[in-house]
């Protein structure tokens, strides 16, 4: 019975063969976050996931795509049908974006990366193609390995192919800017803004939706300050993750520039975030997970989510 479920796509089988079963491998995407969770130990063999969009079904709001495909290319294909995904576009691959798990800074409007993954196919440390999740937008069939894979930095399996949830691109999208308004007050006054950003003195807001909705929310903004059309601000290179309540009152060290995302909790600034310790009970489970999925430690050796 299960033989019929086995993956037969020659591209994935070839990738499984490339991953192999014995030596240390590190999987390479766009190398945009290469040192996150530790730099690969030793000299692992570098591999790349296969590329290409396998099947795009706009009417199902799903796309099946190989992990080595660039997010930019994927989004260009989806945009032709008026759709997008939650994955952030920062020059990397679909597999890389999922393995890192970072959100777009407009995640309040686009959804979170971890919620966009419906089905995952990865190559295990034993060189086998493993599938989890399913092609439908709703699914509770068995343990949720797709959630576990997001942010796992390729330490549990090499992402090969995924099915992602797509979302319609709203009819209208508009950035507005003002000075001297309280960003939290702005956030609370709006219904579902895609982004409310502040650098402590200025506020940027992205509104998306039907034209009349955007117009109505623009009026709400006008009642709070003198907002005018603007571009999205440039984001400093380092991202900090914190509670939305802390992001709202963030003060940078040494007067560094920063952009805080209100309601989301990301800060973009010039220096890296000091990492905090993980809960020891969480460390125990994380180490067991790694040992269970990769008993010989051959997948992305030296890297571990949550580690500096």
């Amino acid at each position: 019975m299960s033989a019929t479920l086995a993956v037969t796509d020659p591209t994935l089988l070839a990738f499984a063969e490339e991953v192999g079963e014995t030596d240390a491998v590190a999987i390479e995407g766009g190398r945009t976050r290469w040192d996150l969770g530790g730099i690969p130990d030793g000299e692992p063999r570098l591999i790349r996931a296969p590329e290409g969009i396998v099947e795009y079904r706009p009417e199902e709001m799903t796309v099946q795509v190989r992990a080595g495909t660039s997010v930019g290319e994927l989004h260009a294909t989806l945009a032709a049908k008026g759709q997008r995904t939650a994955l952030p576009e920062r020059g990397g691959t679909v597999g890389g974006a999922l393995a890192v798990g970072e959100n777009d800074f407009r995640a309040l409007g686009r959804g979170r990366t971890r919620e966009s993954l419906l089905q995952v196919r990865y190559v295990s440390a034993e060189g086998k193609v493993v599938s989890s999740g399913g092609p439908t937008v709703k699914n509770v069939s068995g343990f949720d390995l797709p959630r576990l894979m997001v942010g796992s930095l390729g330490t549990l399996g090499c992402l090969a192919e995924v099915i992602l949830r797509t979302n319609p691109i709203p009819a209208e999208s508009r950035w507005l800017h003002a000075e001297g308004v309280d960003a939290q007050v702005v956030f609370d006054a709006l219904l579902n803004p895609s982004a409310v950003l502040t650098n402590g003195t200025e506020v940027w807001v992205e509104l998306e939706g039907h034209g009349p909705d955007v117009e109505q929310q623009t009026k709400v903004l006008a009642s709070l300050g003198s907002f005018s059309d603007a571009e999205a601000p440039e984001l400093p290179a380092h991202r900090w993750s914190m509670k939305p309540s802390d992001a709202a009152t963030f003060t940078p060290v040494d007067g560094e520039r920063f952009i805080a995302t209100i309601g989301l909790g990301l800060i973009f600034t010039d220096s890296p975030q000091p990492r905090s310790e993980l809960d020891p009970a969480v460390v125990v489970i994380s180490e067991r997970l790694k040992a269970n999925f990769d008993p010989t430690g051959r997948l992305n050796p030296g890297r571990m989510p949550g580690r500096n």
Binding site: G101, S124, S132, T136, L145, H210, D213, S241, P244, R288
Partner: protein, 495 residues
Amino acid sequence: MAGSKLSNLTKRRQRAESSGEPFVDALRAALSHNRVKWDGASRSLHSHDASVFDGGNSGPVVYPETTAEVQAVVRLANQHGRNVVPRGAGTGLAGGAIPLGVPVVVAVTKMNAILEVDEVNRVAWVEPGVINLDLTKQLKPLGYHFAPDPSSQQVCTIGGNVANNSGGPHCLAYGVTNAHVVAMEVVLPSGDTAMLGGLEAEPQGFDLRGAFVGSEGTLGIVTKVAVRLTKNRPAVRTLLMAFDDVRDAANTVSDVIAAGIVPAAMEVMDKQITAAVENYVGAGYPVDAAAVLLAEVDGLDSGVDIDADRIAKIGRSNKATDVRLAESEAQRQLLWKGRKTAFGAVAQIAPDYYLHDTVVPRSALADVLEQIYEIADRYDLLIMNVFHAGDGNLHPLIVFDGRQEGVLERVHAAGGEIITASLDAGGVLSGEHGIGVEKQKFMSRMFTNDDLDHQNRLRQAFDPHCRTNPGKVIPSGHSCADIQSLRSVPNTVWG
């Protein structure tokens, strides 16, 4: 005065009394006598849940009130070599809360406090025994709600929602429970506590929170949950559309999504269930229609009007015979009341029902429905359909009289064929009920042995000794699936 003396005497006697079971005595010493039930009635009650499955066999039933008490219970169970099964309201339909292997049943219903509503972080910290709808009612004055709204929301618990990754009609736009659980404190199978997830934008480390939600109580016991607060929408439009052919309703659903509209909910009821509901609550449903589609959009006034108009047009282009817009909140509530009481309405038709749960691609809805009617004919059964059409989540409801000779065999055989038809159409085993014991044996129709082996690796990272809710989800033949002294589900019940 005399009464209080008597009660003190009783308490002392109870304390001194041994149950004859060292494990039960130890639990009573750790909690209190009256929060550890060992009588036949309590155990019998907790040997079942809302599913049709027998075969459960509860050990002592405990009602902890704090995280420390849950830890004490888990540690005692470990010391005594006993299994642990967490339990919310017992409304699960896949047998996930059925105790196998005579475990201690940890009922979280007394842990039912809403601990904190944190508006800046848009979360509420709640205990697992909080009732889903109670939370939404409490949040209403603040302008928020908890988005997952399973049909059992009047009685089901947040802990149960976490275990099952529950959905409901409105998860079409808002997502299932996983999207609404930000962080949680859990008691691990070791008895230690862990904080999974966090209120930060991107918590560090593996997403253990995400892995825990929907694990059907096999990875530990949740003791505190930070759930996301969803802002109530100022405007709602609810449409009712009637069709002469269920295929037209299904096509309308597909066309709406293809048009780039994501309604808050899209529910379809077929002729049989519509008639039953109308007879039961008088919601104003057209009883002569082959199918009724309820579609709801929410947001800002102008946007919902645009979407409601577009949906109505799509319905008409798919030959809708009647398109109505709820004109008042009362009318809207009535339309939803019909949908939400559908299962109660069925009781008028036959004494028993078996509610199935599969998901298919939306574009396959019409074809799979046709196959379901054909299966019903072939097995001489009545199957009604009321389902979350927007996300392709079918809920075929097999209605029967269990007293009829041989009917259960037909019910289960038909159920098996429905599952096969859904999988063949590119669907999945379950959309919101979970696997439990119901669909264990079907897991190998969706997953390879390697796939299942990896699911088990996740389970064993949390629970290396397979002590928490054993015998669920993973099918027989894999570790953590077979428990010694476990009374399996009898063949007479689930073929």
